[in-house]
């Protein structure tokens, strides 16, 4: 509780008209960047980093982190309205968000998403404010075995619930893993799966895959119906907002659970994308409304968004306290810190109080401001839907191309994007689930590295995965989650009177 004073001091640092203006600007820019598929948090922040050279580090990081926030908020808008995720962390939002929009309930979906995001981010900031040193110490306990266990947990929490053909799900996931392998192998320094072609040297970035599969793929699938987006009016009138807010407390369990999941994934670098999948997956497994997931269930929107935002926020903690970026955007922010001459570490909190607490204070404010701005600009974005298809479609494609190009400054990536678009079209129509592919692409490389690092350290001894309390707990949790549906149905059958005899 002794962090209240520095926090108040931080507010005083931030509440200058210059910094507040930067905050607004940052959030607006962030929303724009988040909405544009492909131009996401990392590129957005990297692009604007040079602009901040002339600013004070505190102002600079306030603006950059607000861009980060805005992007997190903005990604959900196009996910819900267009089924095109603006950010990889909003892929999971499309599962239930888009069906809701199709039912004419876009306003509810958007409100639920933003509110969940707000609450998730708030939890994340509270964590940083009051528990930073504890959390930092906790993060230090993670070595390769623990990392692997976390990735395993993420996978197990998400798979096993889909209604699609299991073989297609497996193929999807395996293809994602295969894509993750392409490029340079951290562990051996060799190129893998590049088929001798330098074009594959940089590997396949999951951002490219997401833009192609979900962006271009969605456009291709939609135009079969005719050259028009299915018009969904998304009038966000205040009544809808308040009605949805009134219903939110119903989902208190999901909100808390997802926030915790998000904080967990942010601190143990998993990333916002993985957090959103995990939030969705676990909500699906434990919710009483699980059968409605995927058809337009508000909980299915709240769960991933809350987790993603909590994760994005708490990812800044290990970045500030330890110098480990918990997400790609945090990595760029970290680079910025170093250039401004600030070293992350426990001394940062002591020697650069203004900076750290100004940043934390701006997170609170930015969150609130962000929520207001984003709720009020929704009609603006919804209006985009009314722009004739022949104008908006090429523009979306162009923006996707720019986003794809800007990842590695390579036109090859734009071709890949198109390729992924074709794959997205085929897979969506043939019933291959895309989510496992994306998750495998995001985590596959890291998970494999963690496994091989663990084996090197333990000299091939697998028992290291339950050698201490932390890793053992996570591993067991992962296995339990994997078999949870089977366990639940088994329990149900044992208790069901219809079967007659009681099971001893």
């Amino acid at each position: 509780m002794d962090n209240i004073l520095p926090l108040l001091h931080g507010f005083s640092v931030v509440l200058t008209s210059y910094n507040v203006a930067l905050m607004f600007l940052g959030i607006l820019l962030g929303i724009v960047v988040g909405v544009l598929p492909g131009l996401g948090g990392p590129n957005g922040v990297a692009i604007l980093l040079p602009l901040t050279f002339t600013m004070e580090p505190t102002s600079a990081i306030v603006m950059l982190s607000c861009i980060y926030w805005g992007a997190l908020f903005g990604g959900a808008i196009t996910s819900i309205l267009f089924n095109i995720p603006g950010e990889p962390s909003s892929v999971a939002t499309t599962f239930d968000g888009y069906p809701l929009a199709q039912q004419g309930r876009a306003g509810e979906a958007l409100t639920a998403s933003f509110s969940g995001s707000f609450l998730g981010a708030l939890v994340g900031v509270l964590l940083i404010t009051f528990l930073a040193p504890l959390v930092a110490k906790f993060a230090l306990r993670f070595g390769p075995p623990e990392f692997f266990a976390v990735y395993l947990l993420t996978f197990c929490s998400f798979i096993g619930m889909g209604q699609e053909s299991p073989m297609k799900s497996i193929v999807s996931m395996m293809l994602g893993f295969a894509l993750a392998v392409i490029g340079m192998d951290t562990m051996s320094g060799q190129m893998r799966l590049t088929f001798g072609w330098t074009g594959l040297m940089q590997g396949v970035d999951f951002l490219i895959a997401v833009i192609g599969l979900f962006g271009i793929g969605e456009i291709l699938v939609t135009i079969e119906e005719g050259l028009a987006f299915k018009g969904k009016s998304a009038n966000l009138n205040p009544k809808v907002v308040f009605q949805t807010w009134a219903r939110l407390p119903k989902y208190w369990a999901t909100l808390i659970r997802s926030s915790l999941i998000g904080c967990w994934m942010g601190v143990t670098p998993g990333g916002a994308t993985a957090a959103s999948f995990m939030g969705y997956g676990i909500a699906q497994k434990f919710s009483s409304r699980r059968d409605r997931f995927g058809t337009g269930e508000i909980e299915g929107v709240v769960a991933p968004e809350t987790a993603a935002h909590a994760s994005g926020t708490s990812a800044l903690l290990p970045m500030l306290a330890l110098g480990i970026p918990g997400s790609a955007t945090a990595a760029v922010l970290l680079g910025g810190l170093m250039i401004w001459g600030l070293e992350p570490g426990p001394l940062l909190f002591v020697e650069h109080k203004d900076f750290v607490w100004g940043l934390i204070a701006s997170m609170y404010l930015g969150n609130i401001v962000g929520l207001i701005i984003v709720l009020s600009t929704v009609p603006l974005f919804a209006a985009i839907l009314r722009v004739p298809f022949p104008i908006i479609a090429p523009i979306i494609i162009i923006l996707c191309a720019i986003g794809a190009y800007s990842v590695h400054n390579s036109v090859m990536d734009v071709w890949f994007m198109l390729g992924f678009g074709a794959v997205g079209y085929l897979f969506k129509k043939l019933g291959f689930p895309l989510a496992p592919l994306v998750l495998a692409l995001v985590l596959g490389d890291k998970a494999e590295d963690a496994f091989r690092q663990t084996m090197l350290a333990s000299k091939g001894d697998l028992s290291i995965f339950w050698s201490n309390g932390l890793v053992g707990t996570i591993t067991v949790l992962a296995i339990v989650l994997l078999f949870w549906p089977a366990i639940v149905s088994l329990c149900r059958r044992m208790r069901s009177p219809k079967l007659g005899q009681a099971v001893p």
């Binding site: 193929v171 295969a178 090429p394 400054n409 036109v411």
Partner: protein, 160 residues
């Protein structure tokens, strides 16, 4: 008139089978066993490729045997597929254009072309919108963001 769902299902499965095979072959050279104490570089990729190929055989068989009503429906009608191609092929041409003409010129042509041919807008309107959009993009990326996007001969004429 169109392609049967079943047919596409089968063909895609066959394609994926070969993808899995390629992955297996390519990772074989990297060492598919354990090197010293940890898996070699090819260990996981090889097994991933194997699973892909095996599962795709399963899908292919399912596709062949599938007589459910859904399988006998059309994957896509030709008329609708033409619409898909109407977006896909120009996009491919657009990307080709990026390589030779730079992204700005290509984008302008792309937008204008779409508006005129697909939306039947007047030429003047098409050029105005495409020119305006590209001008904004140019300003945004070349001057504000300082993100160099691929440029072509036209920009080179002006010294960019």
């Amino acid at each position: 008139m169109g392609v049967l769902y079943r047919t596409v299902d089968f063909l895609v499965a066959v394609l994926i089978f070969f993808v899995g095979l390629a992955v297996m072959i390519e990772s074989y050279d990297l060492g598919i066993g354990w090197i010293k104490d940890s898996p070699g570089s090819g260990y996981f990729p090889f097994r991933i490729g194997a699973i892909i190929s095996l599962a795709s055989i399963g899908i292919a068989v399912q596709a062949l045997l599938n007589n459910a009503s859904e399988a006998r429906t059309l994957f896509v009608e030709w008329s609708r597929f033409k619409l898909v191609l109407a977006v896909f092929i120009p996009t491919a041409a657009y990307i080709l254009g990026i390589v030779f003409l730079g992204i700005y010129v290509s984008s302008a042509v792309f937008i204008a072309g779409f508006m005129r041919l697909a939306g039947k807008f007047k030429w003047l309107m098409s050029i105005a919108v495409s020119g305006g959009t590209v001008a904004i993009l140019f300003w945004l990326f070349e001057f504000e963001f300082l993100v160099p996007l691929p440029k072509g001969p036209l920009e080179a004429l002006f010294g960019y």
